[in-house]
């Protein structure tokens, strides 16, 4: 898929050097360190402080090598390979040197391996055994840190919600501090004091609670940093690993589950480095999200609503009940009028069999996977669908010279891609621009951050184009043509309307026009906007005007673990023609009925034209941005079946609730935002009597219409669909763009955006205790100025009122926000923020007032 992007790349000849490494001749590009060269040819050099994604510092001295004609041992991580060098990595002198280094490192090390959670996978332990240091010449008392509150000799210092530090075990490799600052851009951990009392610690008065903090524990070469979910629970050699994927982001971060079979329990998650996707860093959601699977609140058995109360029943009874209701509806109406809503975090097999059930058993096109977006287009070739289908590659970010992020709060939506952009920022220094309706932390890597007036997204894009035209950096005839299609048509008007600076816009336009390889990524602000089609039309115009896609990539990023897969498998009311064709071939039939998406289904439920609904893994009651609309709709239903891991607001409304297995409990394939299909293996047995979605679908479908829903035939269908290129051709013409404005009614003046918290995603992560240790309740995030203006302090309760509803939330003051925009996370059931929204609004607005004690 990245073929289109990779074309016309001239092969640059890099100067190389050739040197001798343990007798073999090695040729590497100039500037490669000896350590890296050795790793490349498979020679192992031990290290503590070196990390492939960080700049070398040579702090631990463990990677000593002997170089001919150099008087002393050299640290190979800091030594650039040079022509004619003769390097020995395992000579007597080298071994002696490493042994001495270890002796030094062990001077103050407590050697409390039997009680240390790192034991068994500790670099220091392994290297000490390997290099045979069995005695210590240091006769004096070891230097000791002791946390005052501790009664034992351990120095257990809690430096973050999930991280415990033991300063005595720390060997001061500074890997955690460097990763935190360099790779994550976070400044909540530091190295303090000097000499014998040098120590790692959280920033004074703060704690280590950034969204990537779990990585610090993973890269610690000793047991100095441990995370509370793993501490004292199990020894590493008693666990087995299962390769899997993150279910909470769309990049499909590769992970390993550490599980224990007898307890049928997952104990932790570590990254499984896949440089093309995640560089070995995973966000905390990915790391602690597995606790959802272990939760004691999981649904164990099917539930049926009897006399208004849901009671536990057997699977047989539940399935028979569904069949009975299904036939009742069919008989009373004379046709099947049932819809289906499924979560885009489920695997391909589940998605496809669900689509097969809705299309062949229920004979309807009432199917969607987007249960948390308002007013989506029905047709897949709308401008939104076109831009969404464009290919995107994470690795291409690395050598892009211009990176633009439009409408994406990267850290909250695409943490992996943020780290990737940050890596480019550290190494290749591309021009980075961020455009958002409010200011975000991820813009810390941006050369310029553009904050436009909320609700003027298309004008902001139009303004870039007009700036390009004024700067004469685009084709003149195209420019004349372009201007005919847009209102406003001068840079002055457009920039005034969206509140951006003309000179800054010109810089951006020039960069896009002159960039050799561009990455332009579009995020959730656009996907979630009711005006997504107008905004994407503006983006398509810009793409055409600047010829952007011919020299890079532009795409709207998928948000959930398998959103891309759901699109490719046609889990849409009206999939694109080739997919429809494939489905027809596989199903041997295809419903003629009118296609209806989430909004359409709800509207028809209200008109009583749809009587029954299957919901699998989705929680529209909590996540759809108009709670009242969904609630009223679901109440009208004759029959609602909901499958989920937990009791949710949606399951409460259901007639039948079926327990769903989590992604760690069965084998499944997921398509990430690049369109790459990856596998997650089963780590543990499903909780209680829960079943994978595809099994539930099979049980129901076979009961209802006796169709074949066996795994083999489903997999064949999936394979056929995934083989189809779903990229939709970009339009040849400019599209008409007329800026859409919404009146701001005086009283409700503050725009709100519903976000995902940096430690939560969707409705499930609330059940992960570790993630709740970071954030356990919803908040109202506002800028410092706004808080000061309203005389509000951190954690003050504030009444948030929209035209339709009100909520009371504690204030959280944001360091990055600087306008009157308010942000509220949607991840907490106790604070239903979507109740503030109305589906027909483009920007939801509220007023705020302090709650008096």
């Amino acid at each position: 898929m990245s073929e289109a992007v990779k074309k016309d790349q001239p092969k640059v000849s890099v100067p190389t050097v050739t040197f001798s490494l343990d007798g073999q001749s090695v040729t590497v590009p100039k500037g490669t360190t000896v350590l890296q060269a050795a790793k490349d040819v498979g020679i192992h050099i031990p290290t503590f402080c070196w990390h492939p994604q960080l700049k070398s510092v040579g702090a631990c001295r463990m990677c000593y090598v002997e170089v001919e004609k150099m008087p002393k041992l050299m640290v190979s991580c800091m030594l650039d390979a040079m022509d004619g060098m003769v390097v020995q990595t395992d000579s007597d002198q080298v071994r002696q040197g490493r042994k001495a280094v270890l002796e030094f490192i062990l001077l103050n090390h407590p050697l409390d391996c039997p009680t240390c959670d790192k034991g068994g996978e500790c670099d220091l332990q392994n290297l000490t055994f390997k290099h045979g240091v069995d005695d210590n010449r240091f006769d004096f008392k070891k230097a000791r840190f002791k946390e005052e509150s501790m009664t034992t000799t351990f120095d257990d210092k809690k430096i973050g919600p999930e991280i415990v530090l033991n300063r005595n075990r720390c060997i001061l490799c500074y890997k955690c501090v460097r990763a935190n600052k360099e790779a994550f851009g976070e400044y909540d951990l530091g190295a303090f004091e000097r000499g014998n009392i040098t120590q790692i610690d959280a920033v004074p008065g703060g704690e280590v609670c950034n969204p990537f903090s779990g990585n610090l524990v993973e890269i610690c070469p000793v047991g100095a940093l441990t995370n509370s979910d793993w501490r004292y629970k199990i020894r590493v050699w008693l666990t087995k690993t299962t390769p899997s994927l993150c279910n909470f982001n769309s990049s499909g971060s590769n992970i390993d589950f550490y599980k224990e079979d007898h307890q049928n329990k997952i104990f932790r998650v570590t990254s499984r480095t896949n440089d093309s996707i995640d560089d070995g860093w995973i966000s905390d959601i990915t790391r602690y999200g597995y606790q959802v699977i272990n939760s004691a609140d999981r649904l164990q058995k099917p539930l049926i609503k009897k006399d208004g109360k849901q009671v536990e029943v057997s699977w047989d009874e539940a399935i028979n009940f569904i069949a009975k209701k299904y036939n009742d509806i069919k008989e009373s109406v004379g046709r099947v009028c049932i819809g289906g809503l499924i979560s885009p975090s489920l695997d391909n097999r589940s998605l496809y069999s669900f689509s097969k059930m809705i299309r062949t058993v229920c004979k309807s096109n009432n199917i969607d996977f987007r249960g948390d977006y308002r007013m989506l287009p029905n047709n897949p070739d709308s401008p939104f669908g076109v831009l969404r289908s464009q290919p995107f590659s994470i690795a291409e970010i690395d050598d892009s010279d211009v990176i633009v992020s439009f409408g994406s709060d990267l850290i909250h939506e695409h943490p992996n891609e943020y780290l990737r952009i940050r890596k480019a920022f550290n190494y290749t220094q591309p021009k980075i621009y961020s455009m958002m309706p409010y200011s975000v932390k991820s813009a810390d890597v941006a050369n310029i951050e553009y904050v436009y007036t909320p609700g003027t997204d298309e004008t902001a894009i139009n303004a870039i184009c007009l700036a390009g035209i004024e700067e004469n950096v685009v084709d003149a005839s195209m420019a004349t043509e372009y201007i005919k299609h847009v209102v406003p048509s001068t840079l002055k008007d457009a920039s005034a309307l969206c509140g951006l600076d003309e000179a800054e816009l010109k810089i951006l336009a020039r960069s896009i026009a002159e960039g050799k390889k561009i990455t332009f990524l579009v995020g959730e602000i656009v996907t979630r906007s009711k005006a997504r089609d107008i905004i994407t039309a503006a983006l398509l115009n810009m793409n055409k005007l600047f010829g952007l896609s011919s020299k890079g990539q532009i795409s709207i990023l998928a948000r959930y673990a398998n959103s891309k897969g759901a699109e490719k498998l046609g889990i849409l009311p009206d999939p694109i023609a080739p997919i429809k064709e494939a489905l027809k071939n596989d199903f041997e039939e295809y419903p003629e009925s009118e296609p209806r998406n989430t909004d359409g289904m709800m509207a028809h439920i209200r008109k009583e034209e749809i009587k029954g609904l299957f919901i699998v893994g989705s929680n529209p009651m909590m996540l759809y941005p108009d709670k009242e609309f969904i609630k009223e709709s679901l109440d009208k239903l004759d029959f609602l079946v909901v499958c989920d891991l937990f009791e949710t607001e949606t399951t409460e409304a259901a007639d039948v609730v079926l327990p769903l297995a989590g992604w760690a409990e069965y084998d499944g394939d997921y398509v990430n935002l690049e369109g790459v299909c990856q596998s997650a293996k089963q780590a543990v047995k499903p909780a209680g009597e829960s079943k994978a979605a595809y099994e539930i679908v099979r049980l129901i479908a076979e009961k209802l219409e006796h169709k074949t829903f066996d795994v083999e035939s489903i997999d064949k269908g999936v394979e056929a669909c995934l083989a189809i290129d779903t990229t939709i051709k970009l339009p040849n013409e400019f599209l008409d763009i007329k800026a859409e404005s919404e009146d701001v009614t005086g009283e409700f003046s503050h725009p709100i955006f519903i976000i995902d918290d940096a430690h939560h995603c969707g409705h499930l992560t609330e059940k992960a205790p570790s993630l709740n240790n970071f954030t356990a309740e919803a908040y109202l995030m506002m800028s410092e100025e706004l808080a000061a203006k309203n005389n509000m302090q951190e954690n003050d309760p504030v009444r948030v009122e929209s035209e339709v509803s009100k909520l009371i939330l504690p204030v959280k003051i944001s360091e990055s926000l600087d306008s009157d925009v308010l942000l509220i996370p949607r991840n907490f059931q106790s604070s239903p923020v979507t109740s503030l929204c109305m589906r027909k609004r483009r920007i939801d607005r509220v007023k705020i007032s302090k709650v008096d004690e």
């Binding site: 400044y187 530091g190 303090f192 000097r194 920033v203």
Partner: protein
């Protein structure tokens, strides 16, 4: 804000001299130290805002450099040189004398926050040893009597 507008202006004027923002940390402290007499968490935060460097970097550097006091000190900081020349000329007994007179130990501050006593390395006044630096002033060729007079004068001084 603890920093005065004057101090902030001075810090900003110094900060623009450096191509890297981080380099302005030490000069910024010097200004803060002159104004306040010590640096602590609250000051790190303010300096962080003024020069645009994350607070942790400022705190890291601050704890590395031991000569920036982290706690408030008395109005007069008595810095007794304890290096070889002064030591030969009796600086040890001067320290004991001051400890007894002020009823504090080396490194401590009197209860009325008037005097802090510390020992320092060579201040380059070997020819006139022993010596004490009081805030920014040198007092040389000292003996017990002169010291007593110095302290009494400081105590009597009104401003």
């Amino acid at each position: 804000m603890i920093l005065t507008e004057d101090s902030i202006a001075k810090i900003k004027a110094k900060a623009v001299r450096y191509p890297r923002k981080k380099s302005a940390i030490l000069p910024a402290w010097t200004v803060a130290y002159r104004q306040i007499g010590h640096v602590d968490e609250a000051i790190y935060k303010e300096i962080s805002k003024v020069i645009g460097v994350p607070m942790v970097e400022i705190a890291e550097a601050a704890t590395f450099y031991t000569m920036f006091p982290k706690k408030p000190r008395g109005k007069y900081l008595l810095q007794v040189c304890n290096n070889i020349s002064c030591a030969l000329r009796g600086s040890d007994s001067m320290i004991t004398h001051l400890e007894n007179k002020l009823d504090i130990k080396l490194g401590e501050t009197t209860d009325d926050n008037q005097f802090s006593l510390i020992a320092v390395e060579c201040l380059g006044a070997c020819a006139t040893a022993p010596m004490v630096q009081v805030n920014m002033e040198y007092h040389e060729n000292l003996d017990a009597t002169k010291l007593d007079k110095l302290i009494d004068d400081l105590k009597a001084k009104k401003d």
